[in-house]
Amino acid sequence: MVDFLMPSLGADMEAGTLVEWLVKPGDRVKRGDVVAVVETQKGAIEIETFQSGQIEKFLVELNSKVPVGTPLAQIRTEGEAKPAAVAPAPPPAPPVAPQRAAPAAPPVTPPAVTPVRAPLPPPVAPTAVAGARASPAARKLAGECGIDLSKVTGSGPGGAITYADVEQHLGAVVAPPEKKRAPGLDLDAMRTAIAAAMARSKREIPHYYLEHQVDVTACEHWLAQKNATLSPDTRLLFGALPIKAVALAARRYPAFNGFYRDNTFEPAQAVHVGVAIAIRGGGLTAPALLDADQLSLDDLMSRMRDLIQRTRAGRIRSSEMSDPTITVSSLGERGVEALYGIIYPPQVAIVGIGKAVTRPWVIDGAIGPRSVITMTLSGDHRVTDGHAGALFLAEIGKLLQEPEKL
């Protein structure tokens, strides 16, 4: 039996609110399945399980805010026998944050985390979990309008309360324009999270900054030729090329790919490139394109498209939030020629991509017009020096000269 824990979705996350189970006790899950939705400062995040098995029981109530590391459910792993003895199901653990505990209340560890192997209780039916079942959007609208969800009649699957049910309860026919934003996104909370992470970065990480100009004419020609043969849904954007080049260079220069924790740098085994994505209305987040170095450009583009769409709709997965090993940020489309990023801790590098501008450029002794981008690196001086940074940037530039090999 293993515990399914409230994951850490970034260095700045201390707690999260469990808002939805997407499975029920008795369901079989496999590694990577999305099993729950947790609301954090960064929005509603879909949480995946790292364990395969059968959901044994839930340990915390819906709508509970619990610290990172709190067991949310128990999963019976493959090969574990069902218990013969039948004991009454324990009540779900109490929520941590919503109500103030009595002064003498014990610590908030859920009762079922005991390592002692005892006869296991039978699975708890979904109805045993306190709190109305409601979609994150419904929950958010209800929260904003001060509606008690237990008084709303649900019309969704299994009686779940939908956004429309809450709207109907409100007597609202049309949501006001400011409510049209993606349901899982709270931009004020996101700003608080950005402030915490960036302030920590500037406090703790001794950044150094380098810039490197790269001729991307070959990339543009190659891209135009390739896209001319493709329908819009499979076309590539220029932005995919530097991401792939950074991922490949990070594999060759592992000191830029990993985490700095407890005064030690741990290089990451995989290359998960965080892609800085602007949220309409002022937010910013950088979820991961997992294993970006292993993806073909077509696959990378298709994953990036899906990631951006889900991010802007407030549906990011837990592995994408916690896993970036290096970040790429691009502001070229907004006319910015060079951006110097702030490293997202515990990562140790961020690469900035600027706008492609036509410049006079010397090739083989002759001057000609070329399309040039300014690429920057913000590096963590505790892990690397400018010399290594220069090699890393040069490698990215070199890879961009042969886009067909990316």
Binding site: R280, I308, E333
Partner: protein, 85 residues
């Protein structure tokens, strides 16, 4: 399909990308990237949606012609049913 119907589809698709924008208040000659604060991914999604909805082929080289609301409507009217896929 009339120009008015096409304009409606274009506005709807743009609204899917920028839901908080009142399309009636957008200057039909304004650069959509600035007026709606959309990026290249948003624009590609818009082109993809128009391709699927209206069966119009829009090669990348023609993107600049669709960068305003009026420009997009005029382009689509001229190329309606051009898609081979």
């Amino acid at each position: 399909m009339s120009d008015i119907d096409i304009r409606k589809v274009v506005q709807e698709e743009l609204n899917n990308i920028a839901p908080e924008v009142d399309m009636a208040s957008v200057d039909p000659a304004a650069d959509l990237r600035e007026a709606l604060d959309i990026d290249s991914m948003d624009f590609l999604n818009f082109i993809t949606a128009i391709h699927h909805q209206l069966n119009v082929d829009i090669p990348e080289i023609d993107y600049p012609k669709l960068i305003t609301l009026d420009g997009a409507v005029a382009y689509i009217v001229a190329h309606l049913g051009s898609s081979k896929s």
